[in-house]
Amino acid sequence: MKVALLSESPADETALRGLVAAVLKQPPKFVGPGYRARGWPNVAQLLPAVLRHLHFNTDTDVLVTVVDSDDSVVHTAAHDAPGYFHPHCRMCQLRAVYRQTTKRLPPAHGRARVIRAVGVAVPAIEAWYLGGRDATVSEAAWIAGQEAGAQPYSRAELKWRVYGTDRPSLAHETECALREIARLNGDVRRLEFDFPGFAAVAADLRAGLRLNNS
């Protein structure tokens, strides 16, 4: 299976490669170079062009897109109801962009469309890195904080916990990302439980694998 990544930084891309391989139980063929966006909402703005490029100019099977939620509305099971769309939820927004872009494209390279795999790290990808080693960090804790009006941690605090500084170099960020992904040892069950925004991209990837193998 050929997988393309649309991420916000080279460190994120390194982490996503490891996570995709862990979900699929084997490293796929990654399409390079990785596609890069300049944070939100640039990801959503760029996504249609990346999808069209991958669809017509490559034989990519899956496009993985992962963004940070920052302070936006967190995706919940209620958003998955048929026909529901939350205008301030980044998961809903990215899925809508996929849907609207791919439905207009004719088949190409022997497949109907590039398969969607969307994840949202709540509130940032550093939370995923802490999955399984810091019990206070989870999507549920963040949502509870949003509801209470007092977040349990800030994005800067998460950086401190992962990198030991809120100004990590790119090299240090990448090194830490690799270390934390290696710590999972290929087992992403806890990560999926604590972070439904990760479980969503994992589910998309597995569905894509089944489709690709059928």
């Binding site: 944070g39 909402p41 100004r167 170099s169 790119l170 240090h172």
Partner: protein, 340 residues
Amino acid sequence: MDNTLNRTHVGAVIASIAFQNFKALRNTRVALTPFNLVIGPNGSGKTSLMEAMLRLRTLSKLPLSDATGIQKSGGPEIEFRFTAPHDAIVARMGCVSDVQCDTLRIEPATAPSWPALRTDIGTIRSYVLDHRAMAEAAKRSAGADLQGDGGNLAAVLFQLRANAPAAFAGLTAELLRILPEFRAIELTEAGDEHVALALRLVENGLVPAEGLSQGILYLLGVLALAFDPEPPRVLCIEEPDRGIHPRMLREIRDALYRLSYPEAFGAQRRPVQIVTSTHSPYFIDLFRDHPDEVVISQKKGRAAEFGRLSDRADLAELLREGSLGDMWFSGILGGVPEER
């Protein structure tokens, strides 16, 4: 009103600079933090800010003026305030014109810590890197400090390799990580006690400095500053992002952060206060999480004023709608050219 003026900043030397009738800086004050990225239109005082700091360095090495030495006739004046332990000292620079500042007065005149502060001020350096100068061979003995245009880059690297091999190894490792097509920095004899710079390709070819791209030379210059084992206390550098691919700008920011926040890089030395500038929205994007480090220079007619991005109350809301660079380019944040 810039409400950062009274904040203390570990690592900063200069706390604030106030300008009166100095070029476009007619009546404005800027509070400085350990790291300062100045953005604004052309002619809005970014270079003047750095020039003022260089003039402070120059005048601090000369005998001080007494109270009557300062211009009283409405000539430009620049007032410097400092961080602890020098926060009781005020330095006032008097200028005859925009291009001639020739008096410096210290208050109190007998401040006991002035000699120590003067030593720090004496290390202020300012850079506008020039790739043509950087590509030239340099006299081996002229490599103590990188020149303002980077013209002695080869000699600086030569002396770093000889005198601080660990720092040279760190610089080399960083360069090769960023540019994996190379495998070594080579410094070769160029006759008449000169040394020339070249980079060895992984596939073994040698690219002489004059064959390197502007961006690679600028990157080397910034890394030479970042890995200087005895850096200045204050460093000004104009547009360090010039010639650099947008995807590599993070590496430039990291190199400058290495100077300003050494503890974040595991280095045990005093921080360097940085004042830098850019016109690149992509570079500005990298400061989204640290708006306190961004100074916006706003030009109104022929006069310019400084303000801190972090003083913008609605910044968090704005950043939900777009990137920091896009917000700046749009004009919402100010710091854009006036149009008629």
